[in-house]
Symmetry: C2
Subunit: 386 residues, 2 copies
Amino acid sequence: MRKVSVIGAHEIKWGVLKEKPLLDMVSEAANKAITDAGIDRYAIQAIFLGNAFGEILTGQATLGSATANILGIPHVPSIRFECACSSGAIALREAFLNIAHGVYDYVLVVGVEKMNTKETPQILSAIATSFDFYDQKAGIVAPAVFALYASAHMKHFGTTKEQLAMVAEKNYYNGSLNPNAHYQKQVSLEEILNAPMIAEPLGRHDCSLVTDGAAALVLGPAETAKNYNSQPINILASAIAGDYYRVANRDSYVSFASTRIAARQAYEMAGVQPQDITCAETHDCFTITEIINIEDLGFFPKGEGGRAVQDGETRLAGRIPVNASGGLKAKGHAIGATGVGQVVEAVTQLRGKAGERQIKNVELFLTHMLGGSPSISVIHIFARGY
Amino acid sequence: MRKVSVIGAHEIKWGVLKEKPLLDMVSEAANKAITDAGIDRYAIQAIFLGNAFGEILTGQATLGSATANILGIPHVPSIRFECACSSGAIALREAFLNIAHGVYDYVLVVGVEKMNTKETPQILSAIATSFDFYDQKAGIVAPAVFALYASAHMKHFGTTKEQLAMVAEKNYYNGSLNPNAHYQKQVSLEEILNAPMIAEPLGRHDCSLVTDGAAALVLGPAETAKNYNSQPINILASAIAGDYYRVANRDSYVSFASTRIAARQAYEMAGVQPQDITCAETHDCFTITEIINIEDLGFFPKGEGGRAVQDGETRLAGRIPVNASGGLKAKGHAIGATGVGQVVEAVTQLRGKAGERQIKNVELFLTHMLGGSPSISVIHIFARGY
């Protein structure tokens, strides 16, 4: 198994991009990632693309083929992965494995989602297809599921609404420093706490954004990475694990089993401990999700995530900055693109090019997506390859 | 790279399965494939699933997670692949690669599609999402694209409507011998030729069926395969290639570039020649597709596919039987399931258990799917591993 590097990375400015066709989003992200890699596009041997709702929200499925065509490399293998929010991260994982084992040398990874194409009820219906069919019939939707987790976490560990709000406030602040973020304004704790309720105890500011976005990476063998980009980033670990898809099947609502299992595998693969991680992008579809994830990733003991946020440990200058990009909360949640966008942030931070939101002394960067009901976690760990 | 075997295979009876929920279809195919493999389900380390239209036609995306849940193995990684008609074949390919390179030992591959959930115009709209967005706007639909190929092939090589009809007649005959086929009746050449026109020169009987179906395979290392099933089937080659997604970008309408490129790779990987192949399942979404494919796969010289069909060379007792299962025409086309179903046929034939449609002296079995506009070909070659 050979080492794999990210040699090119790019994301477009995320937001509500009504005027920008889906394939223009892909084209911009992919072509600029190829330019960043300094690679001849004809050296790319496969395209692995993550997208969740193309057919429902844009009328375009089979986006692997579509991408190969617009990039002018129609004969390369192209695969579209759909695993809800984890779509992009899984495309990355499979590309990593294919290169690590010598199937391909250079693979383009793309994540894309165009969400704001219809009215809100139709967008929510599209998102609902990511949940178990019988759960859907029972009326389960994303805010309701995570409200369940929030209530349980508050009851078991005394986590407070203020601590949830502090996750949002931090991520809004980080997003205000990220020129690619969907939402680039700070929001006060008071405003967050006084927002209209969506699903008790989660208010409007506890929820992530409905975002259009695209991001792309060029991956290749670490051995030759520096022939292309002087700042390649190595992938030290790739891990994936599942959880019960039906919400009622789970025995705990204060922890995500898929996060715990994937984290253990990722740390073992990289040969590191949770406390070795410098900073992370983790799935904050709701504020409670970030709190539970930073516990399940091993950054803080179970039940102490809220306290850690309150103490500022996850802020840009804290012990372990989390979601420096603004996260799903402020950079935005372009479902199939988010997992690839997290890696663009990892690359940017590790290269020391994150501008005002640059984290100091970044060594090990972890990215984590949690998809489905939530039922599938994907984790990668990165370090400088130069 | 280690050798990989199919150690378990099963498909449900295909057809219009209005009363059978999507996940019941998956459950039956997967559980019986596991039983056929003689493996403990907890030994399965990943689920790779092909499905094209789950979210549009059944309201259920993220089918990897759904499958893991219903099989009682919720924590295994599960991935859903969407590449139009090639979805299932690509799930197989990636599973093969992951085992060949030691990422996993045992992987469950599932293909499933429930098509007959809505009225015909809605089903056709779902299928249309597999075509390029701008082609869709121009009114391009599957019968129109393949009518273009049929007209060009007739003009260049003198292929006749009778030869097209003979493909349908053969596949209906084969399907009449297959208890799992959607359509199990013979249809006379006269009836085929007199059917209502769909897109000149393709009549109703030149088109494949709109089918609900599911199929599953258990894959594992060849080295230990016989510990599970006394008749494992080895995978000698796996290949994939693309073509221009936009129909107008292509320079030829008498050949599928993706088929030619993938075939060359597959033969090289297996170390065989086209003439070594004993029999094949190939993508016959329309009768012309089978004629062009059997040329591009190298079974017959370019332009002689129609003549070969007319001479009976692709019939069950012919030189190279094609679509012994009945193909997409009679076994049916359950889009994301078809590529996996082809492999169930390969396994059944190689094991000598195909009953009335058993081909004599089967040694090398090739399966080929052509997905998208058509823009992506996936080819596998199989042989007995016992």
